[in-house]
Symmetry: C2
Subunit: 210 residues, 2 copies
DNA sequence: CTTCAAGCTGACCATAGGGTCAGGAAAAGA
DNA sequence: TCTTTTCCTGACCCTATGGTCAGCTTGAAG
């Protein structure tokens, strides 16, 4: 009854342990920052000996890099919600929903990303300059189109994006502050209220019509 | 001509060196995080031997604590702009201006603060629970009054505050990302434009009237 | 059943980094 | 000028931490 001794297959083992380590790493990096995180801490949280981490990941930096990339992928993925929309209410509304959901479900990842960028993006600078820049250019074009079509007020698209990122990620990155002020962890309905507030203020703020 | 050999007075010395160290510390903590920062790095930046830091500050944590408190004070100070206003356009407009100015002038401090909160506020938890909570309660009341007086739409005051913090601090904390996307450091007029965008979107978003 | 490669890990190493301290230099005061 | 107090710092200590490695275990293939 105790040990779940299902003997893992070879390829399962690798997959399984790498996931285990990445999850533990994400949490530890989020809580302590890159500098404050230790391989030992990550190993303990993953329930593996430290040497095993180095079997799967060449170095602390290598492990960190993968954690950051995972978030970045999730992050970009949320964009799709915005693209297939006919107008700002639908598109930006969906994007806010998606990003708020990420803040809720991947708070640790969000913090790691924030930390990384705050420290000058030492490991993902190239992504910022390529993938993210392209992504941004595309979205700026989309928003501009909506403006040209009279579907929203003529706001600056870049600053609108920054506002979307800032407000939604704030609930993850500054979640501790919010919970302290709130006096308790955010409940389901707190999240609903937050989503609603953010959406209504922003959509009204950009004069979204339709 | 070279050495500025004005012999400092006793009380000047302490003041001078502590400031020197605090400034260096703020920068290093901002760039590397608490865990990544080293006393040696701070000492080098301040142009002092490491042992001297420990003459003025008992420990790395002690030094860090003072850096965080400095920011917190500046941060709270910006609130005054909001209080002596008769309505949201003036009050929130001024608050955004003040906080944007802080993001610009004290970007390092802002990052240290963000880092501290993201990591669960290990050293300033008590401030969050007392000073910040009181401050927030006061401002929530103020906003509610404006709502009751019909000066703005009935938004959730807490979430409005979060939005204000998030959007303004984003320009400091994620300044690197913005500059990368922008292709260059933000100029004077970039900051003007940012301020204007933030203000117009938010003020419209809360239906500020008067 | 043997062989091989993948998975695993306790023990070890080297260095970095926070912190200490004894003793020297330099203001301030008497 | 002598004494006291503050300021200063090179050299040192010790722990923590990233990383290595030799040798073991275990699944898979034939």
């Amino acid at each position: 009854m105790a040990d779940n001794v299902r003997p893992l297959r070879r390829n399962e083992i690798r997959q399984h342990n790498e996931t285990l380590i990445l999850q533990a790493a994400e949490k530890v990096f989020a809580e302590a920052g890159f500098g404050g995180a230790t391989m030992q801490l990550i190993a303990d949280l993953a329930g593996l000996p430290k040497a095993n981490l180095h079997y799967y990941f060449a170095s602390k930096e290598d492990l960190y890099r993968q954690v950051v990339q995972n978030i970045f992928d999730i992050w970009l993925h949320a964009a799709e919600s915005m693209d297939q929309a006919s107008g700002p209410i639908e598109g930006i509304g969906a994007y806010i929903d998606a990003k708020m959901e990420i803040s809720r479900r991947h708070a640790d990842g969000s913090k790691v990303w924030a930390s990384e960028v705050m420290h000058g993006a030492p490991v993902i600078q190239d992504y910022l300059e390529t993938t993210l820049r392209d992504w941004t250019t595309g979205r700026v074009g989309l928003i501009q189109r909506w403006i040209d079509e009279g579907k929203m007020a003529p706001v600056n698209p870049e600053h609108l994006l920054y506002m979307l990122w800032a407000t939604t990620q704030h609930y993850a990155d500054f979640g501790h502050q919010i919970e302290t002020l709130n006096g308790a962890p955010m409940t389901d309905s707190d999240w609903q209220a937050a989503k609603h507030s953010v959406k209504s203020m922003i959509l009204r703020g950009i004069g979204a019509i339709e």
